[in-house]
């Protein structure tokens, strides 16, 4: 049995790919009532441009995969939460109907997605009134449940979810007073800044944070302040903004409690498992893909990554051909992280490396080297931490790679 945990776009694509590769016994566990994952609440369009060559909404994107699953014998078990996995590929899951269940899998694919950093992780000073929630929670209230969480709103964090929610709240009649961003740049896609903020005249306040919240029962206002280059609030720059809602969009964390329990090695930067090019984790037979592995901005890349994992898991079940020689992949100058973190040897297929840069850069060169010798480079007009980059490298370039070799990707000046 191939067990897949999570029926978001990652789990669904991985399942379909493994099925295509001839695996018959596939089970997907999903804790929600329906498949689709986070896409179900992302009702805006902006999905599928790479993969389907058209722009569709989140639910439509998810439906294409969940409908395709219906035409196969892939088993989808919803309303069921996986509570543990082990290095021997044992899975414990539970639901209201069947209680605790135990399975032994031949391979596991982790596709649990990520979750938002809650307010506690941020430590804003002040009272604890209602009206403070994550942007994703507000998105669920409006787009799934059909409730409006407030009328006058400040958003902290300018990642895509924050930007999308600024527009959504505005369309539904709320006034969004400001989107505050701690860093000197937004982590969101440029198009979202244009279509979600500029179109509606919502101010984006960079290098600004919320230093205090006010109100007893319900939020009454927030104090914001500018921050210095060490991200510390600057005295006497405080400003009070009246509002009944504060949305926090301060980053996503891959959901890896299960992975950690199993003893899977986690990358301290991505907060996801360390994987090879086949998306195999440090435990043989356990693969990972999608947001549980690295936080993606575009679901299309989630789909591609998950197909890699699905195919590799199928290969693992069919042939048990364990690849156990790897060349290391390390981030160089101006690169924050790279996935995969290692490459299995010998290299037999074109490889795609995904990475993020540390800051905003203009007119640079992305360079890939093996043991400090450059083998590939590409010009880039714009690079930003909010946009995941990728490098496709042809098989020939890695012909004589050995496990002593180190692959480095860096960004350098022209």
């Amino acid at each position: 049995m191939l067990a897949i945990i999570g029926a978001g776009p990652a789990g669904l694509a991985a399942a379909l790919e493994a099925h295509k590769e001839g695996i018959k016994d596939i089970v997907i566990f999903e804790r929600a009532k329906e498949p689709g994952g986070i896409l179900l609440q992302c009702i805006h369009t902006g999905f599928g441009l790479h993969y389907f060559n058209e722009e569709i909404s989140g639910p439509e994107y998810a439906a294409r995969f969940s409908e395709a699953i219906k035409d196969t014998d892939i088993k989808l078990i919803c309303d069921t939460m996986v509570t543990s996995i082990s290095k021997d590929l044992e899975i414990i899951a539970m639901n209201k109907k069947d209680g605790l269940m135990k399975f032994k899998a031949d391979a596991i694919i982790l596709a649990m997605g990520c979750r938002e950093r809650p307010r506690g992780a941020l430590n804003i000073y002040g009272t604890r009134p209602s009206g403070i929630m994550t942007a994703g929670a507000a998105q669920e209230y409006i787009n799934i449940k059909g409730y409006m969480p407030g009328k006058k709103c400040v958003i902290l964090g300018s990642g895509d979810i924050g930007l999308i929610m600024a527009r959504r709240m505005t369309l539904e009649g709320a006034k969004v007073e400001a989107v505050c961003e701690l860093l000197p740049f937004s982590g969101g896609l440029k198009r979202n800044i244009v279509q979600c903020l500029d179109d509606y005249g919502i101010p984006l306040r960079l290098s600004t944070t919320v230093v205090c919240v006010h109100g007893k029962e319900r939020l009454e206002g927030v104090t914001i302040a500018k921050v210095d280059d060490k991200l510390q609030p600057i005295p006497d720059t405080e400003e009070y903004i009246e509002c009944d809602t504060l949305l926090l969009s301060v980053g996503l964390i891959p959901e890896n409690e299960l992975s950690q329990l199993a003893g899977i090695k986690i990358d301290p930067v991505t907060k996801g498992p360390v994987v090879s090019d086949t998306r195999e984790t440090s435990i043989s037979g356990i693969f990972a893909c999608g947001n549980v592995l690295q936080v993606h901005d575009l679901v299309d890349f989630v789909t591609l990554e998950s197909q890699v994992a699905g195919k590799a898991a199928a290969e693992f079940i069919k042939n048990r051909n364990l690849k156990n020689e790897f060349a290391k992949v390390v981030p160089g100058e101006r690169v924050r992280y790279i996935v995969p973190q290692k490459v299995s040897l010998p290299v037999t297929e074109e490889l795609t490396f995904y990475f993020r840069v540390t800051n905003e850069f203009d007119n640079m060169i992305v360079s890939l080297s093996v043991n400090d010798k450059e083998i590939y480079s590409k010009k880039k007009r714009k690079l930003a931490p909010g946009e995941m980059e990728n490098l496709k490298i042809k098989t020939e370039l890695f012909e004589n790679l050995t496990s002593d070799d180190v692959i480095e990707i860096k960004v350098k000046e022209k």
Binding site: I43, L49, A63, I144, G146, R191
Partner: protein, 122 residues
């Protein structure tokens, strides 16, 4: 002659384009776009800016869902966005609703429909 910067919003690449306009606001040149759609976007943005909008419509008769997500079938003029939201918030759908079902046709006489973007079957 005038030069303006414009971010193409047609796809998530968000190319930053430089547009040269003559004194009658006619485009002389567009650079910085990765594909042809950027040019078309620039042309439209200067003469007749349009946007897609996405929202939700109340749905009756479902055990699981209170709302069904919807989108405009193609772009509507930017200055009609809020009027269009009012129309969307007036309608109530009934199960079953399938992806692509038209919930409002020819909204505000724009020849654009409001269509469902998820299946709500029960």
């Amino acid at each position: 002659m005038k030069k303006i910067d414009l971010t193409c919003v047609v796809c998530p690449f968000g190319c930053l384009m430089q547009i040269e306009l003559d004194d009658n606001d006619k485009i002389i040149s567009v650079t910085g776009n990765t594909c042809k759609r950027g040019e078309t976007y620039a042309e439209n943005e200067i003469t007749d800016p349009r946007r897609n909008i996405c929202s939700t419509v109340r749905i009756e008769g479902s055990k699981v869902h209170n709302v069904v997500p919807v989108k405009t079938s193609s772009e509507i003029p930017k200055d009609k966005i809020f009027e269009c939201m009012k129309e969307i918030n007036k309608v109530v759908a009934k199960v079953p609703v399938k992806i692509g079902d038209v919930l409002i046709s020819n909204v505000l006489g724009t020849k654009v429909d409001i269509v469902a973007t998820n299946n709500v079957l029960d």
